[in-house]
Structure formats: C-alpha cells, structure tokens
C-alpha cells in the first residue's frame, strides 16, 4: 500500500495556504467589479467599451431591477444563448473555421451540448476533436464559458445584495453585472492566465491536425487509419482552458480534458489550474463578508467550505493511495497506489486533489478518469457534487448554494437562542424557508428522479459499460453531475444516446435555472425586510459554533439524502472489493 507521500502533503498545504491568501484580494476586487460605478485599474481602457455595450443593449446602468425583472433578464438571456449555440452546432458545416470539414451535430447532441454550456455544466457527450469545428468551440461554446460564468456570479451577487440591503425593492441590474463581470473580471483574468498556460506548453493555434509518426508506434491511442502514424489534434486550446477553469466550466478543448498534454502539460500547470478553479468562488466569500459588513461571517462560510474540502480531499487521496488490495495481492500494483486512469506526471496526489477540487467546485474538468478511481476514491467526487457543489462550488452557484444551506441551518437551529431565527439581522420567515427548501428539493428530485428512472429503463441500462454497483455509480454520477452543473463524468457511461442526451440536458437546465428562481426570490425577499440591529441576542453568524452548524446541515440535509443510493453504489462496491475480492 502506498503512503500519502510528503510531496502530496506539501502540495495540499500550499494549495490551501495560497487559496487563503488570494481570497481577500480577489474578494476586494469583486466588490469593485460588482458595483456599477466601482473603480478598477482597468477603467481607462475598458470604461468606453462598457458604455458602448450599455448603449447597444439599451441598458441604463443606474437603473436597478427587482428580483422578478432580474430573474427574467437572466433567464431570457440564457435561453437566447441556448438557442444561439444550438443553431451554431447544427450549422457548423456551413460556418467558417472548419478545417476538418466536420458535419452538423445531431439534434439531441446539439441540444445536450447547448444546454450543457448555457448552464455552466460543460458536460461533454461529444469529443471535441472529432465533432466540433473551431468555430463551434470558440463562438458557440467559449462564449458561454464567459457569459454562463458571469450569470452565476451575477446571481450570487444579487443574493448577497439581498442579504446586505434592507427595506429595498431592487437587487441590482443583471445586464450591468453581466457586462462588468465579463469585462473587468473574466476577460482580463483569462487573458493573463492563458498567457501563463501557453508558457507551460498549451497550444493556441488554428492549424489543421498534425499527422505524425510516433516514436514508439505501439502506444498510439488516437484514431489511426494510416498504419503507424498518429493524428495529433491542434487548435486554440489555451484561451479556452483559461476560462474553463476560472469560470468553473470544465469543458475540455480535447476529449481527454486536463489529462491531455496539450491542456495540462506540467505539474505546475496542474497546480495553478486547480487553484484557478477555486479563485473566484473563494473570493466571493470575502465579497459576502464585505457586503454584509460582517467579515467574520464571510470567513466562517469560507472555513466551513475549507473544512469540507479538506475532509473530502483527504478521504479521496487516502483511498487512491491505498489502491486496490486485490491487485496488490497479485503483485501487479506494488506501492504506486491506484494509478489506473491517472497521468504519471500528476500521480495519485495530483489526481485525487484535482478530482476533489473539480467536483467541490462545479468545474468538471478532469485530469484523471474518475471512473477508474477506487470505489471510495470515486465516492468523494460523487458526494461533492451531490452536496450541491457548495464547497467553494461553481462561480457564483457555489456561494448561493451554500447560502441556501446557511438559511436552512439558521432556521433549524436559530430557534435555540430563543428568538425567531434571524440571519444577519433579517428574520427568516416562511417565505424564505419555502424558497430555500425548494432549491434543495429541485436538486434532489432531479438527481434521484432521473437516476431511478435510468436504472429501470432500457435506455438507461444500454449506456452502461459496467454492471453491478459500479454501473449504478455511473448513472448516479451522470445525473448528479448534470443537475449540479459539474460536467465531469464517470466516463464508463456512454451518454451520447438520444435518451441520455435529452434527460441529462433537462437535468442540467433544472439544476441551473429552476434552482436560480428560488435563489433570486430569496434575494428579493431578504432585501425587502427590515433590519434588526445586532445585539447579544442575535444569532451568531460566525465562530466555531456557526461553522459546525453549517457543516452539519450540509451533511445531514445534503449528504444523508443520498446515503441509501450511495450505499448501493460505491459503498457496496468497496466492501465487495475488500470483502470478497469482486471487482467491477
């Protein structure tokens, strides 16, 4: 059995330490970006563009929206984007930048893909190299990588405004948030980040694919139609990789995603990519604290996330280091841990940490095959997603998901201080409870409902490459990932069938937009409320007790719900592996 090595510990410590250090500066920058007239050092070049965009969109940057208008704007914008991308994919054969002469994308796959990118999921039932033209990737998809991320951040900002304001009708202006997040945050950050990635060896070009003869002809895995040669895909990868991480989109340029040498060439690029996934979600907790004028609360939310993250990372790493006892007994896997489906340049620690990060956030980029993880190692990403991706989570969606749990936690335990539960001076009343539980319900309904349907239907079972508990895990993972807008997969499942394409697309749309409505309704209702001045009697929204309550609520309401299903999947699989030596 391999050990959790020193290198891994250093990497983990560095990761959490750096994450802690960047949280405040990013948070402060977010405060400026998310104010309509916030000053940033980009004002000089970007302000004119911003003003121009407002004029084109016909937006009054001073005019704010109530929650209904905000929701309407967000959803109609996203819907338009969905249709646009669908059209691009269906028409890619007559659109430019298609050197490989790829045909139109099938309708169900196009719907799935359009839904996937609109919802910030980036579930990929297509293989980038063989299905999509450069135009489809850059215009149809990368566009969403920016705007869907911005929409998520906007929704979170709207909720934070709702919490911070009182006796107010409006929660901001969606169009202003959308424009500013893109212009001041995502575009400049991505630009800098992609320069770094290019320095590490990620490609950025518009060349046709290269046909070459490999050094060792027997290792070629890519399509090989001409004897000993291999086709090496090319393309504008670096720019997409930057935003796929920063915007927690996760859709790989290449099918192998972050495991591909052109997408994630070095351990350093791996480390920075992981950090970039958490960069904005982590900064948003500081933004929360700053806006509600209770920085301790922001840090308490951060701490709860960090603790859940560390626990998940350690379990996953441990399980992967332990590897497969059956293989070890045969002397096949001496000491390396479970290296199946992992890249040698990342190893067990770099892969398990990446898997934890990408599923804690709703990123979904992968640098190893989660399907090949040990049962318990694979359980961690699955549970992370099922918690609602609130452990830092997706950009924006992580924070608003966690804040839903905060509301529930406050309501469940707040009575114990002898007052009507109250969160940062706002009474939590039946409407707030109603919309909060609705958000949780949608998640659970979609994941369990679609999965249950798939396990007993022909279309559901047809996609399985594995039987037994592992097959169940694959189905659960697919719908969890879709609903949670994660996008990573237990790749054993072939999801590219009409039924899976459509059900998964629906799961993604439910998990994103139906979930956002109650969140924004909550924002509107909280903004409306009067503020109760803080006193000794106020519910303490910071400190160890609060952190424990929040973690407890996430685990009991979020995770226990999935316990029976998880027991039938990964847990049984693990026990079968260790107990009776049966492998799936």
């Amino acid at each position: 059995m391999a050990m959790m090595d020193l290198y891994g510990w250093i990497q983990l410590a560095l990761f959490v330490g750096l994450l802690f250090l960047v949280t405040k500066p990013v948070g402060l920058y977010l405060v400026r970006v998310l104010e309509p007239d916030g000053k940033t050092w980009l004002d000089r070049p970007v302000r004119p563009v911003e003003r121009l965009l407002y004029r084109v969109l016909g937006v009054d940057p001073k005019g704010e929206q109530d929650w209904k208008q905000y929701t309407q704007s967000l959803i109609s914008f996203s819907l338009a984007g969905l249709l646009f991308t669908y059209a691009v994919l269906r028409l890619q054969h007559i659109l430019p930048l298609n050197p490989q002469k790829l045909g139109p994308v099938r309708p169900d796959l196009a719907f799935n893909t359009a839904a996937s990118f609109t919802t910030n999921t980036n579930w990929q039932n297509y293989a980038g190299e063989t299905t999509l033209s450069y135009f489809s990737q850059m215009v149809g998809l990368v566009f969403h990588n920016f705007v869907s991320a911005a929409a998520g951040i906007a929704a979170a900002a709207a909720l934070v405004r709702g919490i911070a304001r009182h006796s107010a009708k409006t929660i901001g202006n969606f169009w202003v948030d959308l424009v500013r997040v893109n212009l001041y945050l995502l575009l400049p950050f991505s630009l800098v980040f992609s320069l770094f990635l290019t320095s590490q060896g990620i490609v950025q070009n518009f060349k046709p694919y290269v046909r070459t003869t490999p050094v060792e002809s027997t290792t070629a895995a890519a399509p090989d139609k001409a004897g000993n040669s291999q086709i090496i895909a090319q393309g504008p990868a670096s720019s997409q990789v930057a935003i796929k991480m920063l915007g927690t989109n996760g859709g790989g340029f290449f099918n192998a995603n972050a495991a591909h040498p052109y997408e994630n060439p070095t351990p350093l690029s791996n480390f920075i990519q992981m950090l970039s996934i958490f960069l904005i979600p982590s900064g948003l907790t500081y933004y929360l604290g700053r806006k509600v004028r209770n920085q301790k609360h922001g840090w308490a939310v951060w701490s709860a996330m960090a603790i859940l993250f560390l626990a998940a990372a350690l379990v996953c790493w441990r399980a992967e280091s332990a590897g497969n006892p059956r293989l070890q007994a045969l002397g096949v896997d001496p000491g390396g841990g479970n290296m199946e489906g992992k890249e040698v340049r990342f190893g067990v620690s770099g892969s398990s940490l990446f898997a934890t990060v990408t599923t804690a956030a709703s990123c979904g980029a992968v640098n190893s095959m989660h399907d090949s993880f040990t049962p318990l190692g694979g359980l961690v990403p699955l549970v992370n997603i099922q918690l609602g991706e609130v452990v830092f989570g997706g950009v924006g969606s992580g924070l608003y998901g966690m804040l839903i749990f905060v509301i529930l936690a406050v309501f469940l335990t707040g009575l114990m201080v002898g007052r009507t539960p109250e969160y940062l001076g706002k009474k939590i009343e039946s409407y707030d409870v109603k919309v909060s539980v609705l958000a949780v319900l949608i998640l659970i309904f979609s994941i369990l409902g679609f999965s249950a349907w798939a396990t007993v239907s022909r279309w559901g079972l047809a996609g399985l490459n594995n039987s037994g508990p592992h097959g169940l895990s694959e189905i659960l993972y697919a719908f969890s990932s879709g609903t949670g807008n994660n996008g990573s997969a237990f790749a054993g499942l072939n999801g590219n069938t009409p039924s899976y394409n459509i059900t998964l697309a629906l799961a993604m749309l439910f998990g994103r937009f139906i979930m956002m409505v109650p969140v924004l309704a909550l924002a509107g209702n909280l903004a409306r409320k009067k503020l109760i001045p803080p006193s000794e009697a106020s519910f303490p929204a910071s400190g160890p007790t609060f952190i424990i309550i929040l973690i407890g609520t996430v685990l009991i309401v979020g995770a226990l719900t999935f316990l029976p299903a998880l027991t039938l999947g990964p847990v049984v699989e693990h026990l079968l592996m260790t107990g009776s030596g049966v492998l799936y």
């Binding site: 529930l408 201080v417 002898g418 409870v433 249950a452 000794e536 309550i549 309401v557 049984v572």
Partner: protein, 673 residues
C-alpha cells in the same frame, strides 16, 4: 385558578388524552400535520400489506411494524391531546363560574328586569348589587364597589372598581362584595373576555403562528425529500437485485421524516400558552407569546414596575444641635395624622430609631392636623407645641422665615440624589430633614443585568424630573430612561424603536395607554386597568403586576427554544436510524455490508423494528419536555446556542445509537423477532 399547582402528568388528563389520541386518528384532522399524516398513510399501507400478505415476509414482523407505526401516530396525537387537556382542565374551572347567571337589566324607562345573562348585548345597562355575580364584561358607569375577582385571578383579596378613571372595567363572572354599581355591557355573549380565555386555553381557536407555519413548511419539505429518497430506492434496489418490500420502505420513511418534532410541534405551542396562563397571564394569541420571545426593548413604567409605587422615608438628617431621637420623635408625632403611604413610612422609620409605636388614641390631649394636598403638611398641636412636617416651601411658610444653611444643604442634596426632602419643624425651629425615596423593587438589578446579557434593553418611563429619574435609573440598573414623560411619549418611543427594527414590550392600565399598548409588539394590560387598555393589549395580566412582563419574555423565549431544540434533536436522530436500517435492508443480498451495522443489531428484522420502536417511543419520552419547556437560561445568544446545540444537537446525534441497541436487546430477549 391555582393552575400552577397542577401536576405535569395528571392521571385524569392522561386518561382523557389517550381517548382523544384515538379520536384524532381521523385523517382529515391529521392533514394539518403533514409529517404525522404521512406516518398514518404508511401505517395504513403496511396494515393493508399484512392483510394481503406476500410470502416473502414473516407476518409477525409486518404486524409488529404496523402496530408500532400506528403507535407513532397515536403518540403524536397523545402529545397534542395532553397539551390540550391541560388547557381544557383550566377552561372547565373557568366555565364553572359562568353557569346560569341572571342579570338585572335596566330598561330605558328606568325599570329593572331580571333576564338571563345570555341575552345581554353590547351597550345594555345592568345593575349589580352586593353578593351578585357580574353577568358580563363591562364598564362601571355609576358607583363604586369592592369586587372579588378570584375566579379569574386566583387572588383572594378584593379589589375596588369605580366609575370613571382607570379602574372602571369589570369582568363577567366576578362577584360584587359590597355596594351597588351600574355597568354598561361591553361584549356580546360568546365574545366576552372569559369566553375568549376559555377558547384560547382549550386550544380550539388556536391558529398556527408565523414561526410554526415556517417550521411546518420545512418539515413538510423534509418529508417530501425523504419520500423521493424512499421511492427512488425501490428502482435502485431492483437494479441491484434487492427486492425492497413495502414494509421495509415505509419503516425507513417513517424513521427518516421528522416525526419527533412533527408530533410534538402542536403540543409545544399549546403548552406555551398554558405556561402563560399558569403565570396568570392571558395571551390573546400564540403569536403574542412568540413575539414575547423576540422582544428586545422593554418599556417599563417606573411606578409600580420598577419602584414599589410609593415613596418611603429612608433617612433622617437632624439640623445642627438636634439629636436624631428628638427629630425622629417629632417626625413621628407630626406624621401620625398622615394616612398617606409616605406618612406611614415616616412612622415606621421613626420606630427604627428606638421609639415605641404611638397612635392617635394614646394621646387624648393632642390636636392632630391631617395631611391635605392644599397645605402639604400634617402635624400635631401637643402641649402648646405646634409640630409640623411637610414640603420645604410649606414649612418655610409655616415658620415664617428661611431655615438655616445646613438644612438648605441637606434639602438640595436629597433632591440631587433623586429623593424627596421633607422638613420637620417645632414652632419656629426646623428639627431636620426627612429623605423620601422611591424604593426600587428587590432583585430588579440582577434581572436587568440578565436581560442585558440576553440582548434586551430596558427603558424606564417616568413623569419625574430628569434628576430623580436618573437616580432611580442608576439604582435599578435600567439601560435608559425617559423623564417627564407624557402618556403620548410612550407611543412615540415605541414607534421610534420599531422603526429601528426593535420589538417592544410594555405594560399599561390606563385608557391613555391604549394606543401604545396596541402599537407595542407585546402589550400587557393590567387586569385592573380600563376596558380600553385590556382591548388594546395582546396580553392581560390577571395579577396586575407589571414586573411580570419580564417573566412573559422568558416564557416566550422558552417556547421558541423548546421548539428549536426538539427540531434539532429530531433531525440529528436520522443519522443513527440510517445506520440501523440501511445495512439491514441490504445485507440479505450483499452480506459484505455487515460491517456497516455498527450497532451490532441482531438481525435485519430486529434492526428495522428497533428503529421504528425507538422512533415511536422517543415521542412519548419527550412529551414532558415539550409540555414543561426546555429550562430557560438567561445567556447571550452565542452561549445559549452552544449549550443547546451540545445537548440537543450532539445528544440527538448520539442518543439513538444506545437507544436503538437497547430496544434490539429487549426485542431479542423477548423473542419478538
């Protein structure tokens, strides 16, 4: 109504509650309580399954599960019936007082007719004479009487009620002891104070409070979530080759949905109102009780609430050349004819200086001059000496010239400290200064200190000048005070505090308090107050003790804490139940899962049954806590949360493990599985 002496578990009430519990099985009644309704549907399903039973499950197991599921519903009903029963017992005592009353209705032509009290309408005039029972709520328009209100207050000392002023309201069902009064009826039959009180304590008119509604939504949502979990488990099971029976799925469902708090929620609410009644406070709604817990500003009248209500002599300051005994003696003599509480307190204080008690009848030769508001002096002419005591300016007028500098100093010092100076004079000689002080009620300082720790601000309202007010405020430990306050100021202050987001509680008795009582979030009217005041407030204190506002706040908090504690406990329980049932339902197909049975429960059947039984019994076990309420501790929110989380959160997490194990051991010992 000595309600406080009633035992928590009165056998009579238990008997009746057990019957009611069965009656409440009616699904229509249970619809209002979604968690228990789902439990009942579950019980029905397993019972039907028993009748058309499949071969796969032993009948004994299905039977036992069904029985315990029915018990779960019954126990929840029983908890509610217990709380209602205690209310009903109080109501029936109240009702005794109002059987077949007759009234002397005064006709417009002046004649008096004897009619049944049922026929009285608002605005009717009735005559009530000594020994008669007042037939309806009303206001005295003529006369004054002593009234025995023990029927509603439990206080045996009679009270004086008179026309005009703030003591004109009378309550139906109370008895006139002396004199004769003319009363205008202020309520229609069935609407009277007593009627409302009866229906309230019976729980008949009880509506869910905002907080209960929110909690019910949450509990319903959790129930729906677990329904989805259980329903989806069936196909997952089928995929995995596990045939999950209806019995097992229902058992898991009932264990997971929050039956504990669902079953006790109503009982907690009713018990909260009941606890108020035991303190002789009538809350007009459950909402008022809840609001009491949220209150963070207490508006307290100085007189009667913070101070005993009368100023009392606390010290003598003899003038130069006068011994304290000499002064005390003169002060006592001069005060014998002063029947005001202040005068009496001087006599009492003098006794402490070694003087024997004297009374007017002891001194036939003395001519006593009684205290009057005009002269503001009292005194005695004894053996050629005219001895007087009175306000400094009155005494100055009496002696004809100014008194000494030393006396001057004493007078201004007392005034500075917030006291009231009185002078004692023998002819032209001022003997000394008496200090009168408002006496602050005992124990208030500690109480206000506790309130501060709980985040509640206390504000004293007084008509006194700022100097006096500040002194009393300092002594009593209130956080703030409003001096020279007029009744309208209360309303303004409440509005101001509410605009700043505070919830305000106050007490009042006068008609001019009514607007403020209505505006306050918790307005506790004194039972001795006017009808207008009692109508305006949302609580009435039958003992007319304004200090009780403090206890009212504590009861409100206790109610909310109890509800929160049991919610947390209930939800934390789920962890253990998962560990009991999930391995049990899967171990047949996947024997490798056995290590998950961390409680080491004997068999799958015994594990599932144990969890169901524990789930039912915990409701019964917590009924006393629901009725009595979690013990209240005056701590800040952070400390309270930590403490309650440790007891009910961690307790709820841990307790079921040994609990379920114990049931399992017993079941196996009795060979029930």
């Amino acid at each position: 109504m000595p309600a406080s002496t009633r035992k928590l578990l009165d056998p009579d009430i238990i008997g009746r509650a057990a019957l009611d519990a069965v009656r409440k099985l009616n699904p229509v009644h249970l619809l209002k309580n979604p968690v228990i309704f789902v439990t009942e549907v579950g019980a029905l399903l397993t019972t039907v399954g028993l009748l058309m039973r499949s071969k796969s499950e032993p009948a004994g197991f299905v039977l036992q599960i069904s029985v315990w599921l029915w018990f779960t519903v019954l126990f929840a009903n029983f908890a509610e019936a217990m709380a209602e029963g205690r209310g009903k017992a109080q109501a029936s005592e109240l009702r005794k007082t109002r059987t077949c009353l007759t009234a002397n209705l005064l006709r417009s032509d002046g004649s008096v007719e004897s009619v049944s009290a049922e026929r009285l309408r608002k605005g009717d005039l009735v005559i009530v004479s000594a020994r008669e029972v007042i037939p309806a709520d009303g206001e005295i328009v003529e006369g004054a009487a002593t009234v025995d209100e023990s029927a509603i207050t439990g206080e045996s000392a009679p009270v004086i009620r008179e026309a005009g002023g703030d003591r004109s309201a009378v309550t139906g069902g109370t008895r006139v002891l002396s004199d004769r009064i003319k009363v205008r009826v202020t309520s229609d039959p069935g609407q009277s104070f007593l009627d409302r009180m009866i229906s309230l304590v019976e729980g008949a008119r009880r509506q869910k409070t905002p907080n209960e509604i929110a909690l019910t939504i949450l509990l319903s949502a959790l129930t729906i979530i677990f329904l989805v979990v259980i329903i989806s488990l069936k196909p997952f099971g089928r995929y995995s080759g596990v045939d999950l029976t209806m019995t097992v799925l229902v058992a898991l469902l009932v264990c997971l949905i929050p039956t504990t708090i669902g079953g006790l929620l109503n009982a907690i609410g009713i018990a909260g109102i009941d606890r108020m009644v035991q303190k002789n406070v009538l809350a007009m709604s459950g909402r008022a009780v809840e609001a009491a817990g949220d209150v963070d500003v207490l508006l307290l009248d100085k007189t009667g609430t913070i101070t005993l209500g009368d100023r009392q002599a606390t010290d003598f300051f003899p003038a130069p050349g006068v011994t304290i005994e000499e002064m005390a003696s003169a002060a006592q003599l001069a005060s014998l004819a002063d029947e005001t509480p202040e005068g009496r307190s001087i006599v009492v204080l003098a006794k402490k200086h070694g003087l024997r008690g004297r009374s007017i009848s002891d001194m036939p030769g003395a001519a006593f001059i009684a205290f009057s508001a005009q002269t503001r002096m009292s005194g005695v002419d004894l053996g050629g000496h005219r001895i007087r005591k009175g306000a400094p300016d009155a005494i100055r007028a009496f002696i004809g010239n100014d008194y000494s500098v030393e006396v001057h100093d004493a007078v201004s010092q007392i005034a500075f400290k917030g006291g009231t100076p009185l002078l004692v004079a023998d002819e032209k000689r001022v003997l000394g200064t008496i200090e009168l002080k408002d006496i602050v009620k005992g124990g208030l300082k500690d109480r206000f200190e506790r309130f501060r720790a709980m985040g509640i601000k206390t504000v004293m309202i007084t008509g006194d000048n700022p100097l006096t007010a500040a002194a009393i405020a300092r002594e009593s430990g209130v956080d703030d005070f409003i001096a020279e306050a007029k009744p309208e100021d209360k309303l303004m202050l409440i509005r101001k505090e509410q605009a700043a987001g505070h919830l305000v509680a106050m007490t009042g008795d006068g008609t001019n308090d009514a607007p403020a009582l209505a505006q306050a979030d918790v307005g506790m009217a004194m039972n001795t107050g006017t009808q207008a005041a009692r109508e305006a407030g949302n609580m009435v204190d039958l003992d007319s003790n304004p200090t009780k506002l403090i206890e009212v706040v504590e009861i409100g908090k206790q109610l909310l804490i109890t509800r929160g504690a049991l919610t947390t406990f209930s939800i934390a329980n789920d962890v253990a139940k998962y560990f009991a049932i999930v391995p049990a339902m899967l171990v047949g197909v996947f024997p490798v899962i056995a290590p998950l049975n961390i409680m080491g429960l004997r068999s799958p059947a015994s594990a599932i049954l144990s969890a169901v039984i524990f789930n039912a019994l915990i409701i019964i076990a917590l009924i006393p806590l629901a009725l009595r309420g979690v013990r209240f501790r005056p701590l800040g929110a952070a400390a309270l949360l930590r403490r309650n989380l440790l007891i009910y959160g961690l307790g709820g997490l841990v307790a079921p493990f040994p609990g379920i194990k114990l049931v399992d051991i017993i079941l196996n010992a009795l060979h029930l599985v």
